[in-house]
Amino acid sequence: MHPSPLDQSSAAASGSARAPQDALDAWVREVVAWHFDPASGCPFWLEYAKTAGWDPRREIKRFADLERFGQFEDEWLRGGPVQRWIPKALAGRPVFVFETGGTTGVPKTRVAVEDFRIDYELFSGTLPDQYFPKGSNWLMLGPSGPRRLRLSVEHLAQYRGGICFCVDLDPRWVIKLIKKGWADHLQAYKDHVIDQAVTILQAGHDVRCMFTTPKLLEALALRLESMGTTIRQAGITGIFSGGTEFTPQWNRFAHEELLDGAYMTPTYGNTLMGLAASAPSGPHNNYKITYYAPQPRAVIEVVDFDHPVKLVDYGQTGRVKLTTLTKEFFMPGFLERDEGEREPACDRYPWDGVSGVRPYRGFAATTTVGVY
């Protein structure tokens, strides 16, 4: 359906140890050439090149050269006009806009034409057919709204020959309920969401696959248990889920006590990146979760907290730095709100990964101290 990026990834995953790096460098040159070509680039980057005093198309030869852009500013994605991010070569195509954040203030936005579909088609290749049978139906139980998740999961289901049922959860409202201390409303909203999910699972739609968040998975499993059944008995064989709550301990808890044998794989992603899949995780590695970005379309680095141009050593902790490299969106050197440990390549993903992903300590520091 979208051969170019898929081919890139496949090429990167095979061949010599050097091949992934060569493929990445070649893709960097192609993406930079595209975004800084006055005929195809977007207004934001063309304007950037005018004032930068250097020509990215001439000077960026490999991934490491992207350091010249410095740190990608969070604020560049907040506010409009959003059209400044649309590459000229895509003019006239239907454009989606997706948001991330937005609990308070103006959310970050990313435009997309096909990227979300491509990302999830790539991700589809990581799902075992045994647990995510082709042609089976899906349940998308989680945030829709301005996020790309709903459309992406729905596309994933369709790409695999199924139909996707969707139940929405508005996380911005949930955060407001928590901040207001409206525990009863919070519980009622959670019940409302789970009620809809249970109704769909009991309606004879042969739903076998599911995306959901860890909290909703817990709530669904507990509800089903109280009804005398389980996730697996309700027909679900494969689940993918994600978020910083998806810790090894939670992974183990879910496998041992919630899933009743259903398969679940963790993912790490957001509107800006795409979807990072996990290396196999289970009792054999104490449920450790290591994510690998969908290179070359996105690259995750784990960098020094104080010097974000410097990679930390393998096994050491640093901040997650994201570079997104697609024909629709170029975002070099964005410091995520997460930290983790740098992990070496594995058989399935011959490039660096990140484990132990959790909120970046600089933002996560609690202000509630010294009370009872």
């Binding site: 507990l222 248990e225 810790t247 939670w250 808890f253 009370v371 009872y372």
Partner: protein
């Protein structure tokens, strides 16, 4: 190093997530503690009724006896602590090392807990106002020829416990003898008492299925509160405000406890100086029952000066020193931020840090990783000063000048009020003041508790509901 597992109805569970509890001064790891996740609790709570069922198989009279035996074990025995054991002395050293409380205060708190366990029969008889205990077990009975019924509102009580004051554990010790199970979330620096007390109960014959312990972070506390029908939580003013009016949660926070000197007694204030100093200073000022405000219509500057001179002698001492009386702040930055807040408040007109002139150096004393705040006495010429009604977790008191006639309108919520007055009309007003919880008439230290009386609400009323009940022959 000791490892403390999650206890799921008595069954140990080792989590992949482990927190280290460290020595407050050196940073040396003292224990590893398995960290629960919220889902564990939500799942386990389905078996909560089992906790009450196994306890109801044992008569309350017998559970009271076992509580007494548990008190002996808690005080004197070497008891299992996670994957190791702890003698009473090791327990005290560990508690002091992670909380910053001097060892002698840890011992004093142990005695409080043991006293409550030893006196359980009298305490329950007082709290139930002489109710026959089997009425609580069976749910109904008869009293003075009238049918009565008391219904447990939850098979278990959830407790989100603090790290700073091991004395608060006295509040939940009567729960097990009342045949109600426990779901404990220990304070991050004080896992010791919940684990030791659980072992003491179990060795004394309380079924292990009656108690769960879930160490962890905020999500664990939230899951406990979410899951249990009745809960006690300890926190700051924000926590108390958040749960105000929630029948499932009894929130314990700052006490804003006070001493009021009536106009008929204030000229004899020197006679009450010891009571005032003890009320402020005992337990290093950490308790909600410590006095944080002394109110009088005159002599306030002399009172503040005398208090400041007495308290200015206090210095941090090593935690194992027999005279150590000042607890350390173990969370970095807290002492500095409290001190800065006080410094900002004393800039207001009519407000004076009276201790400043008796102190050599700053209010904050830094020793290794630990910070200490030296006792602080602030004089307020009027109740309007912002600092007049503040409370901090160290020996801190404001001496507030206020006409007697305005005191009750101005003092605000007060957990313990010791009112030194013989004037009948003032005593009457004090008895009627609904913003005062514990009332002492006379020179009683605010820290002096009568354990036979309720504290911030009667536990029996919180756990059981009195209701109508009738039967007819079939």
């Amino acid at each position: 190093m000791l490892h403390l597992p999650v206890l799921r109805w008595g069954q140990p569970y080792t989590s992949i997530d482990v927190d280290q509890v460290v020595h407050f001064a050196t940073g040396e790891p003292i224990a590893k503690v398995s960290r629960a996740n919220g889902g564990l609790i939500q799942r386990d709570i389905r078996k909560a009724q089992r906790a009450r069922d196994v306890l109801r198989e044992i008569p309350i009279d017998e559970l009271i006896a076992r509580a007494g035996a548990a008190g002996e074990l808690y005080m004197n025995a070497t008891l299992p602590m996670g994957d190791g054991t702890q003698t009473p002395d090791e327990f005290v050293r560990a508690q002091s090392a992670t909380t910053g409380l001097p060892e002698r205060m840890c011992r004093a708190n142990m005695k409080k807990n043991a006293f409550v366990l030893a006196e359980m029969r009298r305490i329950l008889a007082s709290l139930t106002r002489g109710l026959a205990f089997d009425v609580l077990s069976s749910g109904h009975g008869e009293e003075r020829g009238v049918p009565i019924s008391f219904q447990a509102q939850s098979p278990v009580v959830g407790l989100v416990l603090p790290s700073n004051s091991p004395g608060v554990h006295t509040l939940w010790l009567p729960v097990i003898p009342l045949q109600v199970g426990l779901v404990l979330k220990p304070g991050p620096q004080e896992p010791w008492t919940p684990y030791r007390m659980t072992e003491a109960f179990c060795q004394a014959g309380v079924p292990r299925e009656a108690i769960s312990i879930y160490p962890g972070e905020g999500d664990v506390g939230a899951a406990v509160l979410d899951s249990c029908g009745r809960n006690l939580i300890f926190g700051g003013t924000a926590t108390v405000d958040r749960y105000r009016g929630n029948p499932r949660v009894q929130a314990h926070g700052p006490g804003f406890s006070k001493i009021l000197l009536g106009d008929d007694q204030v000229d004899r204030w020197e006679q009450y100086l010891d009571v005032m100093v003890d009320s402020v200073f005992l337990n290093s000022g950490r308790s909600c029952i410590n006095c944080s405000g002394i109110w009088a219509s005159r002599h306030t500057r002399e009172i503040a000066d005398a208090m400041a001179r007495r308290l200015a002698e206090v210095r941090p001492l090593p935690p194992d020193h027999p005279d150590a009386s000042l607890a350390a702040f173990t969370v970095p930055g807290v002492a500095d931020s409290i001190s800065q807040a006080i410094d900002a408040d004393v800039q207001a007109p009519g407000v004076t840090d009276v201790t400043a002139k008796y102190r050599d150096g700053a209010r904050v004393v830094k020793q290794g990783r630990a910070d200490y705040l030296l006792p602080t006495v602030v004089h307020c010429a009027s109740p309007d000063a912002a600092i007049a009604k503040k409370e901090y977790m160290f020996p801190f008191v404001t001496i507030v000048e206020c006409p007697e006639a305005k005191m009750l309108d101005e003092i605000g919520p007060t957990l313990v009020c010791s009112a030194v007055t013989c004037k009948p009309e003032f005593r009457r007003s004090l008895l009627d003041a609904i913003h005062i919880d514990r009332l002492n008439l006379g020179p009683v230290p605010t820290t002096q508790l009568n354990w036979l009386q309720p504290h911030e609400g009667n536990l029996i009323d919180f756990l059981f509901r009195a209701r109508a009940f009738q039967t007819a022959e079939l």
